[in-house]
């Protein structure tokens, strides 16, 4: 596969993931009006869960080829999650003097993010070799 095709496949996944994050941010703002960036938080943690599931598939499913890797992992998960919004939201909280929410948001994101990846991987049943279709 040439690099142009690979880039477009990743980009397409990113388009989908970013749309999902956009909706998550709208949802978060609609259901909760406080300072905690709920929409970004949900997208980031769910995205980590998904990347765990996809990596689980990558390691144990014959059908999960490079194209799926590009679309789902690089693309969808990469588009669905964001580090720039997280950092910017943290600076806003710091500037507003909202230290408690800043620390809660940062630490919850970091800890639950890693745990969500592990949970996603654990959710994928490991098939024996020869049965990975």
């Amino acid at each position: 596969m040439n690099w142009i095709k690979a880039t477009i496949i990743a980009g397409a996944g990113g388009f989908v993931g970013t749309c999902m994050r956009f909706l998550s941010e709208k949802f978060g703002a609609a259901v909760y009006g406080g300072a905690f960036p709920l929409g970004t938080f949900i997208a980031n943690i769910l995205g980590c869960l998904l990347i765990g599931i996809f990596y689980g598939w990558a390691s144990n499913r014959a059908w999960f080829n490079k194209k799926w890797n590009l679309f789902l992992i690089t693309g969808l998960c990469g588009g669905f999650t964001t580090f720039s919004s997280l950092s910017d939201e943290c600076t806003s909280l710091i500037d507003a003097g909202n230290d408690a929410t800043f620390w809660l948001y940062l630490l919850a994101s970091l800890v639950l993010g890693v745990l969500a990846v592990a949970a996603g991987i654990a959710m994928v049943p490991k098939k024996p070799a020869g049965e990975t279709a």
Binding site: G14, N44, I73, G78, G79, S84, S87, D88, T91, V117
Partner: protein, 118 residues
């Protein structure tokens, strides 16, 4: 939403290509590609908010550049997966360095981007 998606398409393309380049330039276990896009993306979000104003920015511009491009260019899922991988491989020093540098420089980059615009 579609405008955000379009920004995300380009941001993701940029992240993928940066990752490919980083793999060629850097060996070792430190996830250079993800690190670079995350810090640069934070810097860019600071620049964009500096240029347009965080509260004054038009919704479409925000969707395209902030939610879209910066959001697609950076990633939290790969960052988290990288951490898990380093921990499982027992590479605690690299993990600690990666975590602290990403968080601290990420925050600093947002401020630096805004300060560049002044």
């Amino acid at each position: 939403m579609i405008i955000a998606g379009i920004g995300g398409f380009f941001g993701t393309c940029g992240r993928y290509l940066t990752g490919v380049a980083a793999k060629r330039m850097f060996s070792g276990s430190f996830p250079a590609g993800t690190f670079i896009v995350n810090i640069v993306g934070c810097f860019l979000i600071g620049i964009f908010f500096g240029l347009w104003g965080r509260h004054e920015m038009d919704a479409a511009v925000k969707a395209l550049l902030i939610t879209g491009f910066c959001g697609g260019f950076t990633t939290f899922s790969s960052f988290s997966h990288d951490q898990l991988k380093l921990l499982r491989e027992g590479k605690y020093l690299t993990w600690g360095l990666y975590l602290v540098l990403t968080v601290v420089l990420g925050l600093a980059a947002v401020y630096a981007g805004m300060a560049c615009i002044g």
